[in-house]
Symmetry: C2
Subunit: 320 residues, 2 copies
Amino acid sequence: MNYIGFDVGGTNLKAALVNGAGVILAEEKMKIARIEDQSALAHTLVEMCRGLCAAAKIPLEQVASVGVGVPGAIDIHTGTILYSCNLPLRSVPLRKLFHRELSMPLYLENDANCAALAEYFAGAGQGSKRFITVTLGTGIGGGIVHNGKIFHGANGMAGEVGHMTIISGGTPCPCGRRGCWEQYASATALKRMTAEAIECRPDSVLARVVAENDGHVSGQSAFIAARLGDETAITVRDQYITYLAEGIMNIINIFQPDTLAIGGGVSNEEDASLLLPLRRRIEQESMPVNRDKRTRLVRAELGAKAGVIGAALLGKKKRI
Amino acid sequence: MNYIGFDVGGTNLKAALVNGAGVILAEEKMKIARIEDQSALAHTLVEMCRGLCAAAKIPLEQVASVGVGVPGAIDIHTGTILYSCNLPLRSVPLRKLFHRELSMPLYLENDANCAALAEYFAGAGQGSKRFITVTLGTGIGGGIVHNGKIFHGANGMAGEVGHMTIISGGTPCPCGRRGCWEQYASATALKRMTAEAIECRPDSVLARVVAENDGHVSGQSAFIAARLGDETAITVRDQYITYLAEGIMNIINIFQPDTLAIGGGVSNEEDASLLLPLRRRIEQESMPVNRDKRTRLVRAELGAKAGVIGAALLGKKKRI
């Protein structure tokens, strides 16, 4: 059977038609800003479903279900978008609107949970029974797949690992708390730390690396300059990894997943710079359990397409 | 049916015979130090089983199973104590030793998980589907009961909420990490903060309260003096509640339990001093979800007997 997934992002609306193994058979994307209101959103989804089927030469009847990943709070039972951080979506009865035009099962899910489900079915989490993904981006997204099901908690909002405080009273977070992990370990945080270091040390190799990148501070800048031996960059990188390890260890001590996958651009750094030092920290700080039962730290495998693949695969298994 | 539970503590070995509702029918305790070695431990458990049955006038055949709660790491599958923090127990094949003398199902479990299970079956967690207990004592114990089962994670060590960092690089913890929650929000931490405040302000009401308690700093001292309006005590109390709220909010943002119960001596403080300010923080800092779906913060109900009751009830339901 085939499945269609949508990933509603701050900039783009991505869509894909995948088979049961999560392999993309057709894909499409458009600027989200072109969609005027919630009725238009539902209508666009229906149109894109038809378009994807036409492109893949698969009749609509051979699509089992449609899934939509949304950055924000959703009610999975009613298929309603409750609110979204970066989009003007408030109380959108998406399933109802969609069903006016197309009677096909439609599932809604938080986008980080979709990414976790995609990795579970088709990526780094295959075979895992206690699986967690941590995606380092603008914020930190978390998704938990427990015994093959998305772990929703009592209200559908579980897995917000980015909003655990790792520094009591620390940097204010838009969520209303202070010292949230994503203020220290997201890609955004790494860029901020890099920019601050350059301001203090304008003569550093780090500053030169950024200057050569048209003055653009990226999540890679500190890693690149650190590999060139720059002390300023090494300090930034090591501090970043310390913060990252802090939150990962918290998750491990609470959940003890068998596998924890890190995704997002930062996760593409080479093993020696990122995964190996993180694994050393886990080794040092884990509760004493048998070595073979320690959490396996891996890189997520599906990259930026995890969201849309996972949204598609929402229909693959009963989720609650 | 009836069940026997043991709670292996740093000082006492507690035992109880309970009915299926968790009501204690007979109980017993002894100094753990009197037990010489692991064979003697197993033998003592068998003897106490017989003693409890005699006291309650219930034949051994009417006891379904025996459960043992241990402060440390255990292998629930083999029934082995892997290690314990405060006791000289390393790799103790307790089930095997016990079965040499008595052929009755024996379950082993971490003591904080036992406490959570007791509250789930017979206390503050009845009816909860996503239940967490946080016990404020020497450290902070955590237990998770998910859909009626103890949440073990991949290796039996899940729920160590006391060992999540809330202050990166903070106070060293015996677990090997720094800034663990239990260094700031356990009863021990509260006493330390109280003692430090008295040292700075020997003329405070707080100092007088402690002096009148034979110089003994307790987990109540700051709460008592704060109710008398003492600024020093109010600062200590409010800082303590801030730390406590920090960790509780972390747990909520990750797990979204429907009910979170706080236990341990500190939890006996009156609502106005403890539960109400904590609930206000939860209200302010929760992810935006419907009010009726927010985590309910309550006081644990079974007190110091939760451990032994929960150990007994381990046999009540399949646990894995």
